[in-house]
Symmetry: C2
Subunit: 185 residues, 2 copies
């Protein structure tokens, strides 16, 4: 569902989605690239062969919308980076992909800024919580239930999950009713 939201956002921004994955993924209308290599190796093989501008977007960004992607690809700089929580990189836009290589994991945001600098590429940092918020932990689902507008939110609500507030005013997520959709699809 999260990947579906990202594909929708990319398409809404008038970009053509290509899914890069290590697993079979069923899609009628999206090009799929299946790879046995890891994220860095795969992308660093693709980028040198890519002539036009490209945006690399992680799949765990269900808050991403078309306007958010448009904001990234509209940069006046040579490239743009949207940082993720904890030092990660959630989106990279490259006007000239042949001049860049990726280095994900760890503090990849800092590494990508350094690679840009070493390549002489100007780099805009996109200040967006919608792109910053990757969904990894249960608590992250609060963001999805508050700010989500797409499939992932609908699916989560269909499973019966909703927001809760404890006596200290802290907001959490819990199952409030039985699922109204199948969770096995």
């Amino acid at each position: 569902m999260m990947l579906g939201d990202v594909v929708d956002a990319v398409r809404d921004a008038n970009c053509t989605p290509v899914i890069v994955t290590t697993e079979l993924y069923d899609s009628e209308d999206t090009q799929i690239t299946i790879t046995g290599a890891d994220l860095n190796q795969t992308l660093n093989e693709i980028l040198p062969q890519t002539a036009g501008p490209v945006i690399i977007v992680m799949a765990d960004l269900p808050l991403a919308t078309g306007p958010d992607i448009t904001r990234v690809v509209s940069t006046q700089s040579d490239m743009a980076v949207a940082p993720g929580r904890g030092g990660g990189t959630n989106a990279i836009f490259l006007k000239e992909p042949t001049r860049f290589h990726v280095d994900y994991y760890g503090t990849s945001f800092l590494k990508h800024k350094k690679i840009a600098e070493e390549a002489g590429l100007s780099c805009e940092v996109i200040d967006s919580f919608r792109l910053h918020t990757d969904i990894d932990e249960k608590e992250d689902l609060v963001e999805l239930l508050i700010h989500g507008t797409g499939r992932s939110r609908t699916y989560l609500e269909g499973l019966g999950f909703g927001l809760t507030t404890d006596e200290k005013g802290r907001v959490g997520v819990e199952r409030k009713k039985p699922p109204s959709v199948s969770s096995g699809s």
Copy 2:
């Protein structure tokens, strides 16, 4: 230090800071309002008496910079809200403060959007991770060490704290050397 960063950001955006606090706070150049009431009660007494535009900014936003505050106060709408992590509200800008009241705690972001709607006020949601990232937990300090540009980051680094990366590529914060500044000041 975090409050100092927010005051700097507000001032850099050509706004005049006023600190609302329940405790004595020593400042040579910033107006202080000391209150015994809680956050909501205090602000809801101040707003009806406020003629001009006002922005309310929480104190735990050390990533806030002048341009971030400028982005909020430049809205074309009647008001703007910057959501915080977990459903909170980290900044509210009001062109006509007399038409609004605040309701912090819990999912205050949703409450503030509803109050705006009921008051007939158009409301822009500011998509900024710099304003979304309030610093509450130890893990939040990763964001400060990666994206901070002000006093809080310098202070934290002066205490000897720095970024670490574990074998799974997850980034954390730990004390790497003895403090070079006094922590008791």
